[in-house]
C-alpha cells in the first residue's frame, strides 16, 4: 500500500500531493469556464425570467380585472341609456299622436261647424228669396186674375198671412 508505507518510511510523496493540488486547481478553472459559470448564468436567467413572468401575469390579471369592471359599468350605463331612449321615443310618439289626434279633432269640429253655418245660411237665403219671389208672383197673379188695381200694402199683409199659414203646415 503505497501511501502509508512511504509515509512510514519518512518519504512523504510531496510530488503526488503537488500534482494533485495543481491538477485540481486546473480542473477547477476548467470546470468554472465550461460548466459552473454558464450553468449558473442560465439558472439565474431562468430565475429572473420566472419571477418576471409571475409579475407580468399578475399585472395582466389586474388589468383584465380592471377591464372587466369597466366593461360591466359601461354595460350598465349603456343599458340605462337604452331604456331611457326607448322611453323617450315612446313618450314622444305618444305626444305626437296625441297632438295629431287633437288637431284632427279640432279640424273636424271646425269643418262641421262651417258646414252647419253654411247650410243655415243657404236655408235662410232660400227662404228669403222664396218670400220675395212669392210676394212678387202673387201680386202679378192677383193683378192678372182680378184685373183690379190693388194697393201693394194690402196685398203684402194678405201674402204674409198666407205664407205664415204655409210655414205652419
Amino acid at each position: 500500500m503505497f501511501g502509508l508505507t512511504t509515509l512510514a518510511a519518512n518519504k512523504i510523496p510531496l510530488g503526488n500531493m503537488l500534482f494533485i493540488i495543481i491538477s485540481f486547481l486546473v480542473l477547477m478553472v476548467i470546470l468554472k469556464r465550461v460548466a459552473y459559470e454558464p450553468v449558473t448564468k442560465v439558472l439565474d436567467e431562468r430565475a429572473d425570467k420566472i419571477s418576471a413572468d409571475i409579475d407580468d401575469a399578475e399585472a395582466a390579471r389586474q388589468e383584465a380585472e380592471k377591464l372587466a369592471l369597466q366593461r360591466q359599468s359601461e354595460l350598465t350605463v349603456t343599458r340605462q341609456q337604452a331604456t331611457k331612449v326607448v322611453a323617450d321615443a315612446k313618450a314622444s310618439a305618444q305626444k305626437q299622436s296625441d297632438s295629431l289626434i287633437a288637431t284632427a279633432s279640432d279640424r273636424a269640429t271646425l269643418i262641421n261647424q262651417q258646414a252647419q253655418t253654411d247650410a243655415q245660411k243657404l236655408k235662410e237665403d232660400a227662404i228669403f228669396n222664396a218670400k220675395n219671389d212669392v210676394a212678387a208672383l202673387s201680386v202679378a197673379i192677383a193683378s192678372k186674375l182680378m184685373q183690379k188695381e190693388l194697393s201693394l200694402n194690402d196685398q203684402q199683409a194678405l201674402i204674409d198671412a198666407y205664407i205664415s199659414d204655409l210655414e205652419t203646415k
Binding site: 500534482f19 494533485i20 480542473l27 470546470l31 459552473y36 450553468v39 439558472l43
Partner: protein, 241 residues
Amino acid sequence: MDEPTAPFEFLGLTFDWGTILSTLLAMAIVVIVSVVLTRNLKLKPGKRQNMIEYLLDFTNGVVNGQLPKKQARQFGLYAFTLFFFIVVSNEIGLLLQLQGGNGVTYIKSPTATPIVPMTLAIMSLVVAHGMGVQKLGLKGYLNNMLLTPYTWMLPLNIIEQLANFLTLSLRLFSNIFAGEMVLTLVAKSLAWPGHFNGFWSVLALPIEMVWQGFSLFIGGIQAYVFVILTGVFIAQLSGEE
C-alpha cells in the same frame, strides 16, 4: 497489503504513476462529462442540461444550507468541483482496475490511495481556514478556533483541528479502499482463473454485483459527506454554528 507501486523521482520530488494516472483519468472524465452536458445551454433545458443543472443545484443546496449567501457564492465552485471529482474518483475503481505486468495497479479509484484524500482534505482545510481568516480577521479567527467556548479548551481545540484533518481524509479513503478491497477479495478467492471452484465461483457474480451496487452508493454518500464536512468546517472556522 503491501502492493507494489511505480514511483519515480522528478526535481527531487517523489511521484507515483498509479496515483497520477488514476487522478488524470478521473479529471479527464469530469471534464469530458461536463463539456458534453453543457453543450448548447438553453433557458428551457434539455435532458443533458438538466443533469448538470441538477448536479450544480445539489452542491449549491449543500452549500447554501450551511453558509451565508456571500460565503456560499465563494465556496460554490469549489464544492461543485470537489463533489464532481470525488464522485467520479470513487466510482472509477468499480468499473476499471488495470494492473500492469509487474503487479502495479495503474488505474483504480484515486481516492482508494491515502495520498489523494489527504491532499483533498488539506485543500479543504486550507480553504476553510482561509475563509475563516477572511471573515473574522486573523485575531478573531484564532480566538474563534482556539479559545472558544472557554480559554482552557485550547488543547482540546488544537487536537480537534488535527482530528478534523484525519477524519476528513481517512473516512473517504477507508470507505473507498475497503469497498475495492472486498471486490478484489471476492474476485480473487472465489473466481480467480485456474481456481474454478464450482458453486462458489458462480456465487461470486451475484456477490460482486451486490457489492458493486453498494459501493456505488457508498461512493456517492462519501463524496456528499466530504463536501458537507468541508462546509461545516468553513462554518465553524467562520464562527457560525
